[in-house]
């Protein structure tokens, strides 16, 4: 009886394996992929980058920076939790000493005599060329596109938050709870995210795809934030970098951040 039971189990196992391979065989038999193309008016680049002109922001004032932040957060349905624990932010204003901790010195406060308090600095994801967050993501939900933008695939993210630990700039936020209850105004053309996924600035990839500039760039009326292709020597960003000295956040870490700050 034992021997035939063992044989039965062997045959059952092999049959299960055979039946279980049906979807695999079906997938392999799939026909050619459908045709897709980019939008005709899409903006393309070899290496997107951003220049934040802190000198211009000093003239425009904090209201200008707030306008950039609000523009981004409103078109992307970013929730407003109102507390430091749950907050989700893609771009925000912070003091110079927080954006550039190694560059702070006590005489920066002398700038206050010129009306500036702590040199407010807009910070967001730097879309690094050597991004540690992409390296650590176990599902490639965070990935770098060919044009340099570090994007999130919200469908794939498992919420492990390894990318949040890896980011040297604190640019990423998790949705600790369902964000939908805390969205002030809804942009019906862009999805929300669900609880449990990480999000961050996406260089407005959805706007670039239809020929528009990032929302924060548009919101700044005096060119405080510039955006363009670093490999195009005529772009706004290359021109700015040719004419003025610029620094980046934590360059010594080798992440090759692509947001440059004119100081």
């Amino acid at each position: 009886m034992d021997k035939t039971r063992r044989d039965f189990l062997k045959i059952a196992g092999i049959s299960a394996l055979g039946l279980g391979s049906t979807p695999l065989r079906a997938a392999l038999a799939e026909s050619a992929a459908p045709k897709v193309e980019p939008t005709p008016e899409a903006l393309g680049a070899k290496r997107w980058a951003m220049v934040v002109d802190l000198k211009k922001f000093q003239q425009s004032g904090e209201a200008a920076m707030k306008a950039c932040v609000d523009a981004c957060h409103s078109i992307h349905n970013v929730p407003d939790w109102g507390n430091v624990k749950d907050e989700v932010k893609w771009i925000w204003t912070t003091g110079f000493g927080h954006a550039f901790p190694s560059q702070e010195h006590k005489y920066l406060h002398d700038l206050e005599e010129h009306g500036m308090k702590g040199v407010p600095t807009a910070v967001m994801c730097n879309h690094c060329d050597n991004p540690p967050c992409v390296r650590v993501c176990p599902t490639k939900a965070t990935f770098k596109r060919k044009d340099g933008i570090v994007l999130m695939d919200f469908h794939r993210c498992i919420g492990c938050r390894f990318c949040m630990a890896a980011c040297p700039y604190g640019a990423r936020s998790l949705n600790w709870k369902d964000p939908r209850g805390h969205i002030k105004t809804l942009n019906r053309e862009f999805p929300t995210r669900t609880r449990g996924v990480v999000e961050k600035c996406n260089f407005c990839a959805e706007r670039l795809a239809v020929g528009k500039q990032p929302a924060c760039v548009d919101a700044c009326k005096n060119g405080e934030i510039l955006f363009g292709d670093l490999e195009d020597s005529n772009s706004d960003v290359r021109k700015a970098l040719r004419e003025q000295f610029a620094i980046r956040r934590k360059p010594q870490l080798g992440t090759q951040p692509q947001v440059y700050y004119i100081v």
Binding site: T139, C157, R161, A165, G170, W176, K250
Partner: protein, 385 residues
């Protein structure tokens, strides 16, 4: 063999019921977390890994400690460990199960957990962590169960199990090395960016694991009369001692590097943990408890009279375990996030749901350990009879 878990003393049933209660209550709290999200925990945008990942970090070391029995016994024929290798392997099974459970409990989208396998990312250390943990769990289950089953039938273990046993030795080192690499490879977290992170994990693993094993051997002897043997306990206690000395030495190396080089961003994490920073000091008392326990226990372990004192030894082991639980289970993870990359401080404290979920997972580990030990000890006691 599994039928052995179904019969036992009244105390055994009461213990199982208590564990099931703890697990059940933890599960109810997890349902709350499943519905609302990780926001029910104390984690924040700045402190994005905390108690769950800390527990995983600590337990991965305990899981690796089985190798401290397997290596001497199988590789060097150290016969004194013969009676208790199985106990070490079963601790590893329980600990690895808790590790995996803590990871799942910590995920923002656990329903998508299989994405790690569907979209393998060999550049990600988390991917390798999943690989090594899964294999280690299967290895220890396979080895433990096979060897025990053969013992029950009075037969020697089959020869095909030997390669698996030998594989489990370097594999044990791999699980906490890979977990250490999770931390040590991140450029933006100065508290963790140290080459001694993996050696530190080694040190605390081989102190906490054998310490737990000593305590468990004492418990098993009290409850069932199964005696691990005086020599085994003495050797284990020596392993704990040397591992604690190594741990303290590595900690000293960290403190020297950070404070002699005087780099502010690296000092800030230690300052926050041990003296407080910018008025925020919620973890300071906990850190000094951990440090005091570690130093006092190590000193008493080094002195042979106190180490060989059979009443004192389990207490010293509990001190070691508690100290390392605080260090790896809380301060390592949370300390790396405070201050945040922009040098501001968001403090962390666990919430009640988070605490009960954690307790529930420990309950699962304790239950698995109880059941496996019930089998192992019953088989062993039958043999001795």
């Amino acid at each position: 063999m599994f039928e052995k878990v179904l019969t036992g003393s009244k105390g055994y049933y009461v213990w199982i019921l208590i564990l099931l209660g703890v697990i059940g209550f933890g599960f109810l709290n997890y349902l709350k977390q499943w519905t609302i999200g990780l926001g029910v925990t104390g984690m924040s945008r700045d402190v994005s890994w905390a108690l769950y990942i800390g527990q995983f970090t600590f337990l991965v070391g305990v899981a690796a400690s089985a190798v401290m029995l397997v290596l001497p016994y199988y590789l060097h024929d150290y016969k004194a460990f013969g009676k208790i290798t199985i106990l070490g392997e079963f601790v590893a099974v329980a600990a690895v199960t808790m590790c995996v459970t803590f990871i799942i409990v910590d995920l923002g989208r656990p329903d998508r957990a299989f994405n790690v396998m569907l979209y393998p990312s060999p550049e990600s250390i988390l991917f390798w962590d999943m690989v090594v943990l899964s294999v280690y769990m299967m290895l220890n289950l396979l080895v433990g169960w096979t060897v025990l089953g053969c013992e029950k039938r009075g037969a020697p273990p089959p020869s095909w199990i030997k390669p698996f046993i030998y594989l489990s030795i370097p594999w044990a080192f791999s699980i906490h090395t890979v977990t250490a690499f999770l931390y040590a490879g991140l450029p933006g977290r100065g508290f963790w960016l140290t080459a001694v992170m993996a050696p530190r994990f080694l040190g605390s693993a081989f102190a906490a694991g054998p310490a737990l094993l000593i305590i468990l051997c004492y418990l098993v002897k009290r409850l069932t009369g199964f005696d691990a043997g005086r020599e085994a306990i003495k050797t284990l206690s020596k392993i704990v001692t040397y591992a604690m000395l190594a741990t303290l030495f590595f900690m000293g190396c960290e403190l020297f590097t950070v404070y002699y080089s005087q780099i502010p961003e690296h000092m800030h994490h230690f300052a926050y943990l041990f003296v407080g920073l910018h008025g925020k000091a919620s973890l300071v008392p906990v850190m000094w408890v951990s440090a005091t326990l570690a130093i006092v226990a190590t000193v008493l372990l080094v002195i042979p009279t106190t180490r060989n004192n059979t009443t004192l030894l389990p207490i010293l082991c509990a001190m070691v375990f508690a100290s390392l639980w605080i260090e790896k289970g809380i301060s390592l993870t949370v300390g790396g996030f405070i201050p945040n990359p922009l040098e501001s401080i968001t403090e962390y404290a666990p919430t009640f749901p988070e605490f009960f979920i954690t307790l529930g997972v420990w309950g699962i580990g304790a239950l698995i350990l109880t059941l496996l030990y019930k089998v192992a000890v019953s088989v062993r006691l039958e043999e001795e009879a």
